[in-house]
Structures are given as structure tokens and as C-alpha cells.
């Protein structure tokens, strides 16, 4: 169960960007897509989200084939690198958006939405910012709003595209553990795109190392370090051996 990605390929013209990618995410698992710039991480994440479509292969979520399903029907929460907050809405309205868009039958009552928004904002530790507008927030605060907004729809899967790349190192570390805690608390599966090895090692249960549209290796941090599947993996993770020796994150 969970998400299964089978043999997904995608090309732009003659440029093969994803080459027969296989990946699976177990329920409640946190997977990181790790790879250098241009390796196809964002493309894969957008295909999972339904914002782009593959030329070949299959996506199966909880046994249901979702290969051609529209993004809005997938119920996957996405956090964009640019945050993509609705600039003309308050933090509370941003967070409520997904619930307000539901068809009348499945839409919670107004007070129900209000309560849910409050719970989410408190969980993301931004309850006091509910009435602010995105332009009045710091980068880290925006990131938390984006996360709360994505979680509001009770997603089946959380997708994050380099969510911390625009933030400084200190805030980044705090947000990382906040994200991990939140994900555990909600019990949701998550896929995080990053090119930061440390981030992947600290946050993920399993890591998929990508290069030039292929997944070079998919396994736990320990497996990647002990038995790298290719010279690329060994080289790309060079320097992380120390990290393991310190015993952090594993």
C-alpha cells in the first residue's frame, strides 16, 4: 500500500528527464529525493502531484491507479519552494482555502473550518499570525503557513519541494525538526525534494539518490553509506560518513 511509482518516464523534446523511475512510499514513511541540480527531482515530484504527466509508467496510491488523475482530485498536499501563498488572503484564509473549495456536501461548517484552521496554525506555532498577510511574514513563517495550508485538506501524502532552501541555516534546522514532528503526529507519508545531503539524512526514513533522471539507489541512510550502489552514490555522499559516525539522525 502507500504510493507506488512504476517505470515512470518523462522527456522534454529529446531530453530524457526521467528514465524508468521506480519508487515506493510506505504509509507514514518519510522519503527524501536527493540529487544534484537538474537530476529530475522537481519533475518527479510534480508528476506525483498531478501537475505534470509522465509519458510512460504508472502511479498507484493505496491500490488505486492515479496515473491520469487530476491534481485537485489526488488530495496530495504540496509545499512549493516559492511558498506560493495567496498574497491577497490572510494566513487564516490561506489555511482555510482547501476546505472552503470543497463541494457543499463534504465541506465542513464555517465554525468547523475555523476550528480546524486554529488547530493547524497552533500546531505549526503560528496561531498568533492568523490575521496577518503573507507580505507581513518572514520566510520561516511563510513556510509554516504553506505547511499548515497543505495539511488542512487532510492529504493522503505530503509533497515538499526544497521547502527550506530560501532560509538561513539556523531557522532551517528548527523547521526541519518541526516538520518531522508534525509529520509523525499527523501520521502522513511525505516526500521531500532536496539537494542537501544533511537535510535528507536527518529527516528521512529512506533516501532516493537521483542522477540524470534515474534513481541510483533507494534505501536508508545506513544502507547508502555502507553499500553504495554506484560510484556516483559513493562520491555524492562523500563527507556524510562523518555524519554517521557522530550517530546523528540514524
Amino acid at each position: 500500500m502507500g504510493l507506488e511509482i512504476e517505470n515512470v518516464s518523462k522527456s522534454y523534446g529529446s531530453n530524457l528527464v526521467l528514465d524508468a523511475v521506480d519508487l515506493d512510499v510506505q504509509p507514514g514513511e518519510f522519503v527524501a529525493l536527493l540529487g544534484p541540480s537538474g537530476s529530475g527531482k522537481t519533475t518527479l515530484l510534480r508528476i506525483i502531484a498531478g501537475l505534470q504527466f509522465a509519458e510512460g509508467g504508472r502511479l498507484v496510491m493505496e491500490g488505486e491507479d492515479i496515473t491520469g488523475l487530476e491534481a485537485r482530485l489526488r488530495r496530495f498536499g504540496m509545499v512549493f519552494q516559492s511558498y506560493a501563498l495567496f498574497e491577497h488572503m490572510s494566513v487564516a484564509d490561506n489555511t482555510a482555502f482547501g476546505l472552503k473549495m470543497r463541494p457543499r456536501g463534504s465541506r465542513p461548517s464555517r465554525s468547523g473550518i475555523g476550528e480546524r484552521v486554529k488547530t493547524l496554525l497552533d500546531m505549526a506555532e503560528i496561531g498568533h499570525l492568523a490575521e496577518r498577510y503573507p507580505s507581513q511574514l518572514s520566510g520561516g513563517q511563510r513556510q509554516r503557513v504553506a505547511l499548515a495550508r497543505a495539511l488542512a485538506i487532510e492529504p493522503r501524502l505530503l509533497l515538499l519541494d526544497e521547502p527550506f532552501s530560501a532560509l538561513d541555516t539556523k531557522i532551517r534546522k528548527g523547521l526541519r525538526s518541526a516538520l518531522r514532528d508534525l509529520q509523525r503526529k499527523v501520521g502522513i507519508s511525505a516526500i521531500l525534494v532536496t539537494h542537501d545531503q544533511e537535510e535528507a539524512f536527518e529527516i528521512a526514513d529512506r533516501i532516493a539518490v537521483m542522477s540524470e533522471g534515474r534513481i541510483e539507489q533507494f534505501g536508508t541512510a545506513e544502507e547508502l553509506l555502507r553499500t553504495p550502489a554506484s560510484p556516483f552514490v559513493a562520491e555524492f555522499l562523500e563527507g556524510m560518513a562523518n555524519y554517521e559516525n557522530q550517530g546523528a539522525g540514524i
Binding site: L51, R72, F97
Partner: protein, 192 residues
């Protein structure tokens, strides 16, 4: 989002068509409309069989005015929408919004000032429009008159005072437009 902001094929041609009215005389635009939509024209002849007449009435004036002014609105909107990209729309989709909801709750509020600004410019242009409208309106007194056409009519009737009065109204509308434009520009400097 970078990756997907690739212009779709035919974008250039479309932009050229939208901006065409900038580069041709409005009278030519009016004549083109007459040729295509007039009762002997390609489309007009067909519509004529169904007793639908587009020229020499209000519909014709509105159509040709739209043609002449839509580049003003497009010029305001296209750059803004290019800068803001598709991120917010995509976020709305992943949150479960359909196309209409995305447009009404996300796209439209984001472009509302540019839209208003474009509409004001278009309005200024259309109120003063003479060439294209004079061709398609048929100059039917009391029916298909616009202010500039009225000015000419009065003048041709040797009613100089009347012509100046009508012209003054035009000038006043122009001034109001300028004021509105200045107000929007000062409140929302990033619109233009």
C-alpha cells in the same frame, strides 16, 4: 517554478494578433469588420440568413471597440501574469480547487488592479474612438451615435456651439480618466 514557463506554440502569433490594433489605423480595422461581418461579408452573409445583423447597430460598435481596445488591457495583464507565474494557481489545484474556483479566488484577485487600470485606459480610448466606429456605426441619428460621431455631426450641421459642448463633455471624461489613473498609480505603484 521556472521549468514550466515555456511559451506555448503560437504564443507569438496570438500576441501579434492582440496587438494588431496598435499598428493599423482604426479606420482600416473598421473596414475589415465591415468586410467580414457586413451582410455581404464572409461571416455576415452567413449570419444574414439567420436574420442576425452585426453591423450598423450597437453590436457592431461594441465589437469593433473591443477589438481596438483589448490590447490596452492585454498590455497591462500579460507582463503581470508572466511575473507572478503559475505557482499560486498550481497551489490552488493541489488544494482541490477546480478551474473556475482557481480563476475567481486566486487569479482574478491577483490581477484586479491591473485589470482596472487596463479597463480605464481602454475606456478612455473607446470614448474618443472615431475611425473604426464611424465605419461600422452607419451614423444613424439618435440610434448608433457615439460622442465623437455626434461632434462631427453637429459640426457638419453648422451647429458649432453644440459641437463644442459635446467636445467639452469628452474633455471632462478624459480628465476624470486621468485622475482615476493617477489614483490607481499612486496606490498601487507595482501595477504599472
Amino acid at each position: 517554478m521556472g521549468g514550466d514557463a515555456v511559451p506555448f506554440p503560437g504564443r507569438r502569433a496570438l500576441v501579434t494578433i492582440i496587438e494588431l490594433p496598435f499598428s493599423i489605423s482604426p479606420i482600416v480595422a473598421g473596414l475589415c469588420y465591415l468586410l467580414v461581418y457586413g451582410s455581404t461579408g464572409l461571416v455576415g452573409g452567413f449570419l444574414d440568413q439567420w436574420n442576425i445583423q452585426l453591423m450598423f447597430n450597437l453590436t457592431g460598435i461594441v465589437l469593433v471597440s473591443l477589438f481596438v481596445t483589448c490590447p490596452f488591457v492585454a498590455r497591462e495583464l500579460i507582463p503581470l501574469m508572466e511575473i507572478s507565474g503559475r505557482d499560486q494557481e498550481e497551489a490552488a489545484l493541489t488544494l482541490g480547487a477546480n478551474g473556475w474556483q482557481t480563476f475567481f479566488y486566486v487569479t482574478l484577485p491577483n490581477i484586479r488592479w491591473a485589470l482596472l487600470y487596463g479597463a480605464i485606459l481602454a475606456n478612455a480610448r473607446v470614448i474618443g474612438e472615431f475611425g473604426a466606429v464611424s465605419v461600422v456605426s452607419g451614423n444613424i441619428r439618435g440610434e448608433t451615435m457615439t460622442l465623437p460621431l455626434q461632434v462631427q455631426l453637429l459640426y457638419d450641421d453648422y451647429n458649432v456651439a453644440g459641437a463644442f459642448a459635446a467636445a467639452t463633455i469628452l474633455a471632462v471624461i478624459a480628465v476624470i480618466t486621468l485622475i482615476l489613473r493617477a489614483v490607481i498609480e499612486s496606490r498601487h505603484p507595482n501595477v504599472h
